[in-house]
């Protein structure tokens, strides 16, 4: 049962094949068995999960039906959860218990989902391998010597190892899609503003977006139905009507125009990944879609622009972690200055400090125009590239990552790590919805296919992904490597 999709589990629960308590217990058992290997969860809420599950069963007995009622879920540890530790993968918040729930968390609670716990992540979502977490790296269920991707590595690994039925993630430059690709699962980054950021600890405010991490496009649609929508507590949340994202899943792809960006099939892409994605595109051709080569001429500037904008915003967003009101404070500070310096030096890891320094530098007097302002210009150019492309095509498809999951500790050069997100970052800069779905294996490791749609065209995106999954079984492949040795 634990390997089933949300859609399938929802059916099983409503038929009474299984109760939410039984299902929740099954996942909890699995977490107990495998989390020491995978390190996907930083907090497991056994007691409250079983209570929530019992409440869900009782509600169902009272006649309540809802697609997510009683479905076990894991939240990335970036979402504030009232009364439960929210660490954001950092020593800085290792003891932080938020007094409130993030909007995303409340919405899943309202939908009757059962929270199993909080998942590991790169510190403050800064990383592409989950190796920057204060709580140690997450292991890839397909090969425990490899990284799961990041920053939502814990959620991705938890889904791939069937430690939960669905999970939340956040994506600032690829943090949902790249780990989804590395772990062979489905991940969606919605349009900027589609889901409230209230209660989601900020990395880069203008780029951060929450999204579903799950086993199928249909599950992503079910989760998005619960997550999306206006929230008056987030001024950047979009006042765009929420659709039923399952409604268009079965639309035909006959005549669909798929854009293939030349820049995403260029130097640096592993041949095995390219082959898998090309084969996947063949599936679409069989479904009646048309493949059109397109250009995203400024794509090569996206990583540079991103590594100015994101650190700049982060440098201010992380200023609140000063040891004054909550979180880590150094021992025996000599004075205010000493408290600031040591609390932050000791509380933040190297990658976070590196980005704070880069961002601080980019915003400092005399450099603002050369860096921040120029990066914002590039951002507009990138958006224009996409706008032009969507005049010609309905959807853009390429690889999610240039290669499959790499070995733990393999990438020590920060810039090499930053290039991990070369295909995904532009989508955040442009605020578009993007998705990664499993599209094959390369040397036994999952390959992710990256789909991008125009602003708020999540229904189209999910339709295109779902049709692929109806005609392939890549998303059904289960990781087994992590189970060996148990």
């Amino acid at each position: 049962m634990i390997e089933k999709t949300v859609a399938e589990l929802s059916g099983a629960l409503s038929r009474g094949d299984i109760s939410s308590v039984e299902l929740t217990q099954a996942y909890l058992d699995r977490i107990n068995q495998y989390n020491s290997t995978l390190n996907a969860f930083v907090t497991v809420c056994e007691e409250s999960a079983l209570t929530q599950a019992a409440q869900a069963d009782a509600a169902r007995a009272d006649g309540l039906t809802s697609p997510l009622l009683g479905i076990p879920l894991a939240h990335k540890d970036i979402f504030c959860t009232s009364g439960i530790k929210t660490s954001c993968g950092s020593k800085m918040l290792h003891n932080f218990i938020a007094p409130y729930d993030a909007t995303v968390v409340s919405r899943f609670n309202d939908a009757g989902a059962v929270m199993l716990g909080k998942t590991n992540m790169d510190e403050f979502a800064m990383g592409s391998s989950n190796e920057t977490s204060y709580f140690g790296p997450v292991k890839n269920p397909w090969d425990t010597d490899r990284v799961p991707g990041g920053s939502s590595g814990g959620s991705a690994a938890a889904i791939a190892a069937d430690l939960c039925a669905m999970a939340t993630g956040t994506d600032t430059g690829g943090s949902i899609r790249q780990p989804a690709a590395f772990c062979g699962i489905t991940g969606l980054k919605p349009s900027y503003g589609r889901i409230s950021r209230w209660g989601m600890i900020a990395f880069a405010s203008s780029l951060d977006q929450a999204g579903p991490i799950c086993k199928s496009a249909e599950d992503a649609a079910l989760m998005l139905n619960a997550m999306a929508g206006l929230d008056t507590k987030d001024s950047t949340c979009a006042d765009v009507p929420v659709e039923d994202y399952t409604a268009d899943l079965n639309n035909s792809l006959q005549g669909l125009r798929i854009g293939i960006p030349r820049q995403h099939f260029a130097e640096g892409l592993s041949p095995e990944v390219e082959q898998a994605v090309r084969e996947a595109l063949g599936v679409y051709e069989k479904l009646g879609a048309q493949l059109i080569d397109i250009d995203l001429p400024n794509n090569h500037l996206s990583v540079s622009a991103y590594y100015v904008v994101a650190p700049a915003e982060a440098s201010a967003n992380l200023s609140r972690f000063d040891g004054v009101r909550y979180g880590y404070r150094c021992d025996n500070p000599l004075d205010l200055e000493d408290m600031y310096k040591r609390s932050r030096s000791e509380g933040f890891g190297d990658e976070v400090k590196r980005r704070i320094m880069v961002g601080t530098y980019a915003l400092s007097a005399g450099f603002y125009d050369a860096y921040y302002r120029k990066a914002q210009k590039i951002r507009r150019l990138i958006k224009q590239d996409f706008n032009a492309a969507f005049q010609q095509v309905d959807i853009i498809i390429g690889p999610t990552s240039p290669h499959t999951a790499f070995t733990l500790g393999a990438k020590t050069d920060p810039v090499a790590m930053y290039l991990e997100d070369i295909y995904t970052i532009a989508v955040n800069l442009a605020g578009l919805p993007g998705m990664s779905v499993p599209a094959g294996l390369a040397n036994g490791l999952p390959v992710g296919m990256h789909l991008v749609a125009s602003d708020f065209a999540e229904s189209r995106l999910l339709n295109v992904a779902h049709q692929f999954q109806l005609n392939t079984d890549w998303h059904r492949l289960r990781a087994t490597a992590f189970e060996e040795g148990h």
Partner: protein
């Protein structure tokens, strides 16, 4: 050498919204520490700002009142610095696109002349909290009640030339924001604060000297003293062959001196950038015109109307329109009594003196407008004389009862009975034969003395007109 000062003011007024600028917390002066601070005000991770529309409306209202350009698209920015009473580590303010652009206001100087002072801009920003350094055994306490309260920072052009002009400018700003009902603007409570930029240059020069910024000035009087003291200091420095250093100085009112603040505080690079948690604020003409329609009559317009409608002097009109409350009080007295000039004299004279003496606000005065109007009516209808009016006024300060009752019960009613007056007059004529003779010899001026004697005999209650007339008749 003769020197000339160049002065610019940065005035912060707290906008009197019900809640803070970006959080729904109430904004109340004097609450227990940290009771008016929610998770946003504490900068809990994951919290986000939502603009208080009322603060925006108030800023636009101010802009319209000083005839300023209104920013149709204003943008909030983050100003980054670390301080314990700044929980987010940045202050949200408006740098390049403020809500209020260039405007101006007119100040009236002591000699009655007027000057136009330019306002560069006025932007909306959030207040910081308060650091408390006493009572914590060598540690500091943080009170975040004030954190996030909406401020309007009003920046003047460097067009002010001396301390008196600066005070006149401040008082005009004070009057405008009070008229608009957008701020209490109480300097002693910090809801109006003023930083002063001062530089001096040889008179006639067009180049600007090096300026210093004075902080920590919390009354109109101290503004004047602080500026004069700083002008003198700069003059001494320059005349001794020194140079003025660009720095921020803290003014100490008790010792009437200023001293440099820690250099670190002004060496900050604030690394401003647009606040990504807020969208740019877009407003249109409909929005602006709707606010314009709510503008009250402002001090200058009201003063001009008082001159034309009530025939007041410019000076009286200026005094009576200094605050909205005073202007409303005066108009009520003028209308109810039917005599604007008397109303103006009473309000600017006896009433103002009583307020000053007792340290009362107008609202605290035991003589409210309708009562004063009644008193004036009683003088006009000859129930009492003008002189007795003063006695009644003094009684009204202590006795809250009806004006007529006070006159009646204290026997202050004017004597108009001709028999009674005739006997008074006879007595005066009998007692002062010498003066009566002088009058009869043509010395008109002595009549005043004789009238005075009669009034004295009547304890001021006789009708002076009747006394005057009867004395003339009897002495002819």
């Amino acid at each position: 050498m003769e020197w000339e000062a160049v002065i610019g003011l940065e005035v912060h007024v707290s906008l009197s919204t019900n809640t803070k600028l970006f959080s729904g917390t109430a904004s109340i002066f004097g609450a227990e520490p940290n009771t008016e601070a929610n998770i946003f005000d504490l900068a809990m991770p994951g919290t986000l700002p939502v603009l208080n529309k009322e603060a925006l409306r108030m800023a636009v209202k101010f802009g319209l009142a000083i005839d300023a350009e209104i920013g149709k698209r204003s943008v909030f920015d983050r100003k980054n610095y670390f301080y314990p009473d700044l929980p987010k580590g940045y202050q949200v303010t408006q740098l390049d696109f403020p809500t209020v652009g260039k405007g101006s206001l007119t100040i009236t100087l002591e000699d009655g002349s007027e000057r136009q002072i330019g306002v560069t801009r006025a932007h909306i920003e959030e207040n910081a909290g308060k650091s408390l350094h006493e009572d914590f055994h060598g540690m500091s306490g943080i009170d975040l009640n004030r954190s996030g309260e909406p401020l309007l920072e009003i920046v003047s052009e460097p067009e002010i030339r001396n301390a008196k002009e600066a005070v006149a400018y401040l008082k005009k700003l004070h009057a405008i924001v009070r008229y608009l009902d957008i701020s209490d603007a109480i300097m002693a409570q910090g809801s109006m604060r003023c930083d002063v930029n001062v530089s001096i240059r040889p008179k006639g020069s067009t180049e600007l000297g090096t300026r210093t910024e004075l902080k920590n000035i919390n009354s109109f009087r101290f503004v004047e003293k602080a500026i004069n003291s700083e002008i003198q200091r700069q003059q001494d420095v320059l005349e001794d062959g020194g140079t003025v250093i660009q720095e921020t100085r803290r003014y100490d009112a008790e010792r009437d001196t200023s001293s440099p603040m820690r250099s670190k505080e002004f060496a900050n690079d604030y690394r401003y950038f647009p606040e990504p948690d807020l969208l740019p604020v877009e407003i249109d003409d409909t929005y602006i015109e709707a606010i314009r329609a709510t503008l009250p009559e402002l001090p200058d317009a009201k003063s001009a109307r008082f001159v034309s409608e009530y025939g007041l002097s410019d000076y009286d009109a200026g005094v009576l329109t200094a605050t909205r409350e005073m202007a409303e009080y005066f108009e009520t007295v003028a209308r109810s009594s039917g005599d604007a000039k008397m109303a103006a004299n009473w309000v600017t004279g006896d009433l103002q003196a009583a307020l000053n003496k007792n340290n009362w606000d107008l609202a605290e005065s035991p003589i409210q407008a309708e009562r004063l109007a009644r008193l004036i009516q009683r003088i006009k209808d000859d129930t009492i004389s003008g002189k007795i009016g003063k006695t009644v006024f003094e009684a009204m300060l202590e006795d809250g009862s009806d004006v007529d009752q006070i006159i009646e019960s204290r026997g202050l009613k004017q004597v108009t009975d001709s028999g009674a007056i005739e006997s008074l007059v006879d007595e005066v004529i009998t007692n002062h034969p010498e003066q009566v003779q002088q009058f009869r010899d043509g010395k008109e001026a002595v009549l005043g003395f004789l009238v005075g004697q009669a009034m004295k005999l009547s304890q001021g209650k006789a009708n002076p007109g009747q006394v005057n007339q009867l004395l003339r008749e009897k002495m002819q």
